[in-house]
Symmetry: C2
Subunit: 317 residues, 2 copies
Amino acid sequence: MSEQVEFRHLKYIVAVAEAGNFTRAAERLFLSQPSLSKQIKDIETEIGVQLFERHRDGVYPTPIGQMVVDYAVATLYGRTHVFKLAKEIFSGTIPPLRVGFSCFVNSRHLQTFRSLYAKHFPLCSVQLSGGDTVHILQRMERGDLDCAVLCLPIAGPKWVVEHIASTPLVACMRTDDPLSERTEVGLQELVPRLTVFRDPDGHPAAHARLLEMLAAANSSVHVSCTAATPHDIQLLVRDGYGIALVNEDMPLESDMAIRHLYGVQWTADTAFVYSSDSGHPALPHIQRHFYKRNTETVRKQPQADRPQLSLKFDITA
Amino acid sequence: MSEQVEFRHLKYIVAVAEAGNFTRAAERLFLSQPSLSKQIKDIETEIGVQLFERHRDGVYPTPIGQMVVDYAVATLYGRTHVFKLAKEIFSGTIPPLRVGFSCFVNSRHLQTFRSLYAKHFPLCSVQLSGGDTVHILQRMERGDLDCAVLCLPIAGPKWVVEHIASTPLVACMRTDDPLSERTEVGLQELVPRLTVFRDPDGHPAAHARLLEMLAAANSSVHVSCTAATPHDIQLLVRDGYGIALVNEDMPLESDMAIRHLYGVQWTADTAFVYSSDSGHPALPHIQRHFYKRNTETVRKQPQADRPQLSLKFDITA
DNA sequence: ATAGTCCAATACTTCCTGTCTATGGCAAAT
DNA sequence: ATTTGCCATAGACAGGAAGTATTGGACTAT
């Protein structure tokens, strides 16, 4: 039924809608008016729907016609951009992708991203640079970075956020800590000693969300030590300043142990982020791949009986 | 550059990728093999990118080719569905849209939805039915409803959720309540008298989220009265059972007053929801319109200094 | 009234191009 | 060495998109 509709027709439909007049639309298309009229009419009879109302004072899309016009604009845009991107990738004229990352993101996610990119864009190089989340976001806003792998939550409509992974939050303590003899530790016995945190300034939204999750569990903590890197956090824990909540997959240094939490199921989340008005042509394609990977694997929702809280969402959004 | 690429080519590209072989792809397309070969080759030279690697044991898409194949599949799918939808709307063969709604959703959102639908699909009718959120979701899952206008949070990957509106949460009390003399009420003086709530069974996730927001403000409440409708909530408040948290735009009955909260900025959110595997062809188009309306108006993020918490997200997701 | 203007639709011709058949080339299998 | 399977090339042909010329309808100005 729609098999006969070609890109040519979409171009004609858009032109007529914009010009509001067959004659001027034909001029703009460097086409004769009869040819344009016929093509539009052919399509209308082909799909069995009137797309335009011809009045003496102009040609207006019908409501359905307007829907088709919207579709046509999007589709024409998609075509030019896919093939533009393909050519840029093929010729290597695509600029190097500048990727930021938070040091709290496990390096395997960076490797996943990197191999995904290398697989799809073998001629294209990647420039990595680490930093705290706020700084990375600032640099993306300035246009100094194209995208980033960061810890959620990331707020606001200006970012495109594609979830990559969830990791349980666990307690990080010394191996000689009495609590390390348990296989799991309860929140109530943990909270009084929970004093080591990620630097709130590095990612205020994540800090606020963590405090909110603690509040939801009727726990209030005393934030006495903060650190800007996983290494520093373990330094503080090793030196006896307290216990920290860390990602289960954080690279563990010597004399450090992690224990799961009992009674709650808290997770931290990693995401691929880029500016919604970013110009780099590879980003939507990469995002689409992460999206596919998500929709294929997310099926198995565990639905545990323990309260599942996640750092995923920014509660101030 | 990509101007020469037609839907025909996209079909050919997909067929070759699926058949892994020019000859068999041509058979499947009821086309001669040379014609197919030539068309693919023409496109490759036209856009300047090799899409397929011809090996002795088969034809494989290059990485860029795979990207184009993905694009082609999506674009072909889009074309058939847009015109199928257009025809169904035009001929009135589109079935009536069965819309569910929660009674806590302000009726103006239903009217917005209704006028949007009527504007785009004038020949198509709407069947409205109200109920509590859980019930509406169940009916959508069973296929008895096509879509719904509900209060967030709505969890899970099986729902497509498009945000419609945010409304401040306010305290609902009797007009003769001492607190009603203030222009704003503080959470600390409010919480001890906050005893009237929406029925938790009607929307467990929203109830849990509200309790979490209260916990985040170091407040724990005693849920002594619950009601299933805004009317019943006001009934309980009028009869002196306590104060309720309600949407600012809830239709107010006589002797009832609402007061904003001081120190926090809490909001409840309304969304357009439908099943991600729903077959009704109008839904993606409606969603697209809400999405457009959002992206056009959301620019002005207030960024107040008060803590902004929202019922928007399901924290157990 | 009537001529003039504007615009879409129709009739017919031209020419481009997508498809076909036939064939060549190449590598692996027998 | 021959056969087989597959893709590329060459030349002929037909379908249809676009062009030119024209008609027809509706409004306007004199």
